[in-house]
Amino acid sequence: MIQFEGVSRSYGDTLAVRHLDLQIESGELFALLGHNGAGKTTTIKMMVGLLRPEAGRVLIDGRDVVTQVREATSRIGYVPDEPYLYDKLSGREFLYFVAEMHGLSRKDATVAIDREIERFGLGRFADELSESYSHGMKQRTVFAAALLHDPPVLVVDEPLVGLDPHSIRLVKDLLHERAQSGTSIFMSTHTLTAAEEIADRIGVMQRGELIFLGTIDELRHEYHAEGKSLESVYLSISGGAVGGATVDEVAQEEAVAHPTASDESP
C-alpha cells in the first residue's frame, strides 16, 4: 500500500507538488496523468527516496520513505522513465547485483533471474554487455530487475515509451497480472489509452495539484462526458497550463478561492 499524507515539494519558489493526499491499496493499479512539469516525476522521486518531501510524508507498506528509507525501498520495484544499466555489465550480471542487493541468496537469485529472463524474453542478449542494448531491451531488463524481489509496490514511470507493440502488450498484461496478485502499482504515463485500458483509478495532476482522483467512469460522470474517450475528457479538464505554480500564483489562486471578509465587504 502507498500513502501520501499532505505531501508538498518545491523547487525554489515553484511548487512542484502541493498538499498531495493519496492512498493506493494493495492490488490496485493507479495511473497518474498530467502535462509535462505537472509534478508526476517529483511525486515518484519522493516515493522512491530520491527527494524528500518538504511537508507531509510518504509511506510504503507503512514505512516512511524518509525515516525508514531502506525498509521502504526494499518494498519497491522501480522502473524509471530513463532506464539505467551498467554499460560494462551484462543483463544477467546486473540482475544478479539487484537480486542480491535485495537480499536474495545466490540460489534464489538464479531462480528469480531465470524466471524474469523467460518472462521478458531476455534470453538472447542476457549475457551481452548492456551497452549494446536498444532502449526497448534496456526497458525490459529494468522491468525484470524491478520484479526480481517480488515487491509489494511497483512504481513505473512512463513504462510504454519506446517499446514495440509486442513489449507494450507484455507490459500491460504484466501490470494487470501483478495488480491482481496484490501488488500496488503506481504508474505515471502520457499514454492515455493504456491508462484507460488497465488502470483501476486515475489521478490528474495539474501544476502540482491533484485536480481529479477516481475511476475513469467517475471522471466522465463528473465532467459530463459519458461516452467520450479519456483523451478528450483529459484535454478538456487539464487545459494548457504547463509546469508548477509559483508561490505568488498559489497565493492568488487561494485568494480567489477563499476571499477574506474584507474582500467580501462592499
Binding site: R9, S10, Y11, G12, D13, T14, A16, K45, V48, G49, L50, L51, R52, D61, V69, R70, E71, T73, S74, R75, I76, Y78, P80, E82, Y84, Y86, K88, L89, S90, E93, F97, V98, E100, M101, H102, G103, L104, S105, D108, V111, A112, R115, L129, H149, D150, P151, P152, S181, G182, T183
Partner: protein, 604 residues
Amino acid sequence: MTESTATPAEATRVVGDSRYEAALFRRLRTTETAAHLRQLMATARLRTLLVIGLSLFFWCGLFALFFVGFNFLKEHVAQPGELYHAKTVEFVFHLFFASLNVMLIFSSGIILYGGLFSSAETRYLLTTPAREERVVLHKFQEATLFSSWGFFLLASPLTLAYGISVDAPWHYYVLIAPLIISFVYIPCVIGALCCLLLIYKLAHVRMTVVVIVAGLSMFAAGAAIWDTVGIEREEIFEQKFFSDTIRKFSFTREEWLPSSWLSDGLIDAAQPRPRLPGPLRHTPVIRALLSLGLLVSNALMGRLVLTAVAKRCFRTAFSQLECRPRRPRRAGAVWVDRVAAALLTPFPPQVRLLLLKDWRLLRRDPVQWSQFLIFFGLLGLYFLNVDQFTVTAGDINHATWVNLVSFLNLAVVGLILSTFTTRFIYPMLSLEGRRFWVLGLMPVSRETIVWSKFVFAALGSWMPCAVLILVSDLMLRVPALVVGIHQLTTVLLCVGLAALAVGLGATMPNFRETSPSKIAAGFGGTLNLVLSAVYIIVVVSLTALPCHFKLIAGSSSLTTEFLNPDYLDFWLIVGAGLAVAVGVVATVVPLYRGVKAFNRLEFC
C-alpha cells in the same frame, strides 16, 4: 506474490549486514573493471598500449629528472647526512607534498561532486536498499583513484630517485607504497567531506563558495611564488636566498599537516641505521613507522567520519540539490554573434549558417572554451615571462637557445592544439550524425558540412595560435625572418591539424556514442592524435632546422662552405617549401577522403 523468495523485511536484514553490502559492491566493481579491461584489449589495443607506453615514457622521464636533480644536490650542494642536503630534501619534500595535499583536496571534492550529484548510477543506487554511506564510499573510491593517479605518477619516481641517490636501506622501498597510499586517503577524505557538507548546507551557493576558495588558494600560492622568485637576480641561489626561501615556506612543515607526516616518514625511512645505539623510538625506521601509524590512523578516522557524515547528510543533500531553483539560461550576448556573422560574410550563406551554429554551440559550452582558455592562457603566461634569453650578438649559445626555445614553443602550441582538435573537432561529425535529421533534410550538400567544420576548426584555432606565437617571438626578440617563418608554420599547423581531425572524423564516425570525449578516445581519435603529433614534428623540423643553421651561421665565427649564407638561404626556402608541401598533402588528402566517405555514409 507467491513467488517470493525473501520477504522485504528479511531482505533489509540481509543487506543490513554492511560486510555483505560491501562485498556486493566490490563484486560489482570487479566485474565492471574486468569487462572494461577485456573490452579495451579486444577493441582498443593500440590506444591502451599507447597510453601505457606513453605513461611509462613519462614516468621514466620524471625519474631521470628527479635522479639527476638529487645527484646534483649530492655532488654540488652537500652529501647525504650533511645539513644542507637534509634541509634541501626536507624543503623539496614538504613543499611538493603540501602542494599536492591541497590539489588532492580540490580534485577529489570536485570529482566526488560529479559522481554523487550528477551521476545516473547514484540516482539509481539511491532507489535501491543500498545504504547512503555505501553509495558514497563506492563513489569515493572512484574519486580517490581518479584524483590521485597523477599524484602516484609524480610521487613514485620522486621517492624512488631519492632512495637510490641516498642509497636508502631496503625498508625505505617497502614503506613507500603504504606511506603514500595512507597519505592520499586523508586529503581525499577532506575533499569528500567538504563536498558533502557544502551541498548539505550551502547547495544554492556552492559554485560561489568553490570559486572564492579556489581563488583565494591560487592567490596565496601566487603571492608565495612571486615573493620567492621576484627578487633581484644576483641574489638567486645565494645562501641568504636559500635561508629566506626555506623560512617563507616553513608553513609547509607544520606538524599538523599530513604532508609533513609523509615527508618525515619518507626521510626517516631513507636514513641509514645509526652507528651508535640509542633509544629505540629514536631510530629512523621506528620514526618512519610512527609516521606511517599516524597516517594510517588518521586515514581510518577520516573514513569513519566520512561514513558518519554520508549517513547523515547525503540523501538530504541530494534532495536539496535536485530541488534547487533553476534559472533558465537565456540565449544572450547576441552582439558576439553579430560580430561573428559580420566576420563570416565572405563565406557562402550555407557555410556561414553552419559556422554560426557551431560558434554558438562552442561559446555556450564552457567545457570546451574553458579548457581552451586554461591551456592557452597558461601558455600565454609562460610566453609573457620568457624574457630570460637576450640575444647577444656573436654569442652562439644564446642564439642557439633562443632559436631552440622559440621553435619548441611553436611545437608545444601545435601539440596542445592537436589535443583540442582530437577532443573537440574530431567528434563533431559523429555528433552531427546523431542530429542528421536536421542537416540531412536541409538543402545542404554533405561536402558543405565537412568543409564548414574544417573552416570552423582552422579559423578558430589560427587566431589564438598566431597571437601566442607572436607573443613568444616578441618576448624572445627573435629576428623578423624567424617571426615570418613561425607565422607560416602556425598557419600550416592549424590548417593541417583541422583537416586531419575533420577528415578522420568524417572517415571514421561513431554514431552510437553520445559523449564527445568517448568518441575522441576511440581508435579514430587516437589515430588522429598520433598522426597530428607526427605532422607537427615533421613541419616544425622542416622549418626549424634550416632556420637554426642560418642563425648559428650569423652568430658564429666559423667560415665553412656549409655555413655560407647563400647556401643556407637555399635550404631555408627548400625547408619552408617542403613544409608547405607536407601541409598541403596533410590538408587535402584527409579532407578528400573524408568528403568521399561522408558522401557514401548511411546513417543507421
